[in-house]
């Protein structure tokens, strides 16, 4: 049973960005939690071998952004790209060798992340323009007004197989629950902008809770987290989120968790489902 929405009234609008070039600040070291510096790839460009559906942990990289990362050099257009793009939106290449190829938006970090198939990735070049059919801002659940949606496309909402429980509550399939005490970097930002890293520095806890099995594209829940206007602790709240980037060696960082749904009171329930992943929902990566 699908939920009633206002999707028919949403405005679909083009936004665009260019494939970004990986960049480092001299001398290029990222410090790990022991204070040891390493030069690690992962952000920007096209990551050929990490795609949505692959593990979020274990890469010899930092904040690995699966697929292709795009940004707009004009500041106002860049914020439009960030604020209007929704997860699951369709994207297409508008310049370069891969012109015309289609992809799917899978994340928002400092750049917008788009998944293209391997054959398309071979043809992409930093600077190529990617356009997104932005659709989803304003999306609401008509029968559950207390649930706020963020960066949720109608296509993703449909794919997530959310069920009504009763007149107050819905149930969302997720791969795992994250304790609110491990939510870290990103707390200083408004929740309309990018993600919040889970803090993976307590490696034993990651293993104990199975969080180290997280995959890029996983749908997860953070109980007691209110993400309506910022990201904060609130008993009884719940937030449904998407794993958008890989783990980090930096203290206070880890896989990136992007808000999709949030409610300040107990109205979002969840059920554990190992298939609650963007790759499964959109046939991406190895799921294709």
């Amino acid at each position: 049973m699908s939920l009633r929405t206002n999707a028919a009234h949403l405005v679909e609008m083009a936004v665009c960005g260019n494939i970004s070039q990986p960049s480092l600040r001299y001398p290029g070291y990222t410090l790990d939690q022991d204070g040891v510096g390493a030069v690690l790839p992962g952000m920007s460009g096209t990551v050929y071998n990490a795609r949505v559906g692959d593990p979020a942990f274990g890469w010899a990289g930092d904040h690995v952004e699966p697929g292709t990362s795009i940004a707009n050099p004009d500041a106002a257009a860049e914020f439009a790209l960030h604020y209007l793009t929704c997860m699951g939106n369709s994207a297409w290449v508008t310049s370069g060798l891969a012109k015309g190829a289609r992809g799917v938006v899978t994340g928002e970090h400092a750049r917008i992340l788009v998944d293209f198939d391997d054959a398309t990735n071979d043809l992409l070049c930093p600077g190529d323009t990617i356009q997104i059919n932005a659709l989803g801002r304003g999306l609401a659940l008509l029968d559950y007004p207390q649930v706020e949606l963020k960066k949720m496309s109608p296509a993703l909402l449909e794919a997530m197989q959310i069920e009504p429980v009763d007149r107050e509550r819905i149930r969302v399939p997720v791969t795992m629950a994250l304790p609110p005490r491990i939510m870290g970097s990103g707390a200083e930002l408004n929740s309309e902008y990018v993600d919040q890293d889970l803090m993976s520095g307590d490696r034993a806890l990651m293993a104990e809770l199975g969080i180290d099995q997280m995959r890029l594209g996983d749908i997860v829940v953070i109980p007691d987290a209110d993400h309506r206007y910022g990201r904060g602790f609130r008993k009884g709240a719940a937030t449904i989120a998407l794993c958008i980037h890989g783990d980090s060696v930096m203290t206070g960082h880890g896989p990136g968790i992007l808000t999709l749904m949030t409610c300040p009171v107990p109205c979002i329930e969840w059920v554990i489902d190992p298939n609650a992943n963007l790759a499964h929902y959109f046939n991406l990566g190895k799921a294709a």
């Binding site: 410090l31 939690q33 022991d34 204070g35 304790p179 609110p180 005490r181 491990i182 939510m183 870290g184 970097s185 990103g186 707390a187 200083e188 408004n190 929740s191 890293d197 803090m199 520095g201 307590d202 034993a204 806890l205 007691d224 209110d226 993400h227 309506r228 206007y229 910022g230 990201r231 904060g232 602790f233 609130r234 008993k235 930096m250 203290t251 206070g252 960082h253 300040p264």
Partner: protein, 296 residues
């Protein structure tokens, strides 16, 4: 608990001048949307960081002010980004500040905190009489001393933004179990550690989350005063701030409460141990005002 005199390398520390100018408050420009949103989405327009704050001082409540993360006393920064980083990293809580220009020239103050991403000020206490004479832009030199300090018997404890005078005044001791015992007014549980996680611990601030007032009360954090010394449980701030079971941070309440989600009173980190080298001892009234005899 055994009181011992702590061996440190304080006599080897370099004391160097870092300068800042009294910062003006700032707001975003056109299209003139001056509002921030509180944790329930209500817009608010209130004083926030920067400037000369005449009526809020270290020792006053951290809560109840109609302001967003107010800085008590005087906030200084430098327009040059790298120079400001030098100021923010080298200034230590307890360092002496001297006014070098303007009508308050020669007045002396004490560094009481730092603010983080989006403002990066050093917060300095001056007497209210001195504040009356100050002007935005006045130059203030911090006689910085403390970066590099280590305690010989506590190699697992890292000191940050911590002056030798603060170590002396805090009356830290070596506990029978070998840990460094530090008096604090309260311990912040990890689920209430908010904005600042993942950011540097060498300067800036990490905030107590105050949105859930009941959780705040349960943790005994609803009566904090500016300048109070607190502990952060299960937090390792060796490099950035982050969650780690057994890690302990010690800091000072440098800024007031905030209506924003993920925010609340700001903590300037002073000490951290990733491996149980610190033992917070809850003791009422541990505040910079008594440690440094600050006139309000």
């Amino acid at each position: 608990m055994t009181v011992t005199s702590l061996k440190s390398n304080a006599d080897q520390l370099v004391s160097v001048s870092v300068m800042g100018q009294i910062a003006s408050p700032g707001f975003p420009g056109l299209p003139a949307e001056p509002y921030r949103l509180d944790s329930d989405g209500r817009p608010f327009l209130l004083p926030t960081y920067g400037g000369i704050v005449y009526n809020v001082s270290v020792g006053d409540s951290a809560y109840g002010w109609l302001a967003d993360t107010v800085h008590p006393g005087v906030s200084i920064s430098l327009r040059d980004e790298n120079g400001n980083r030098g100021l923010n990293l080298f200034a230590c809580v307890g360092n002496t500040a001297v006014v070098m220009s303007g009508d308050a020239k020669g007045a002396r103050g004490v560094v009481t905190g730092k603010s983080g991403r989006f403002s990066e000020h050093v917060i300095v206490h001056f007497s209210k009489a001195d504040r009356e004479k100050m002007a935005i832009g006045d130059r203030i030199v911090i006689r910085s001393k403390g970066v590099g300090m280590a305690l010989a018997d506590h190699p697992g404890v890292k000191l940050k933004s911590c002056s030798p005078e603060l170590i002396d005044g805090l009356e830290v001791t070596t506990a029978p179990n070998g840990r460094l015992a530090v008096p604090v007014v309260a311990v912040v549980p990890p689920h209430l550690v908010g904005a600042g996680s993942g950011l540097t611990s060498e300067g800036g601030s990490i905030h107590i989350q105050s949105q859930d007032r009941e959780a705040l009360r349960e943790a005994g954090l609803d009566q904090l005063r500016l300048g109070d010394i607190v502990a952060l449980a299960d937090t390792d701030s060796s490099w950035n701030h982050g969650y780690l079971r057994g890690g302990v941070g010690i800091g000072v309440i440098g800024q007031g409460d905030s209506p924003r989600a993920g925010y609340g009173p700001g903590v300037t980190l002073l000490m951290t141990s990733a491996t149980s080298g610190l033992e917070p001892v809850v003791t009422p009234g541990v505040n910079l005002t008594s440690i440094f005899d600050l006139a309000t």
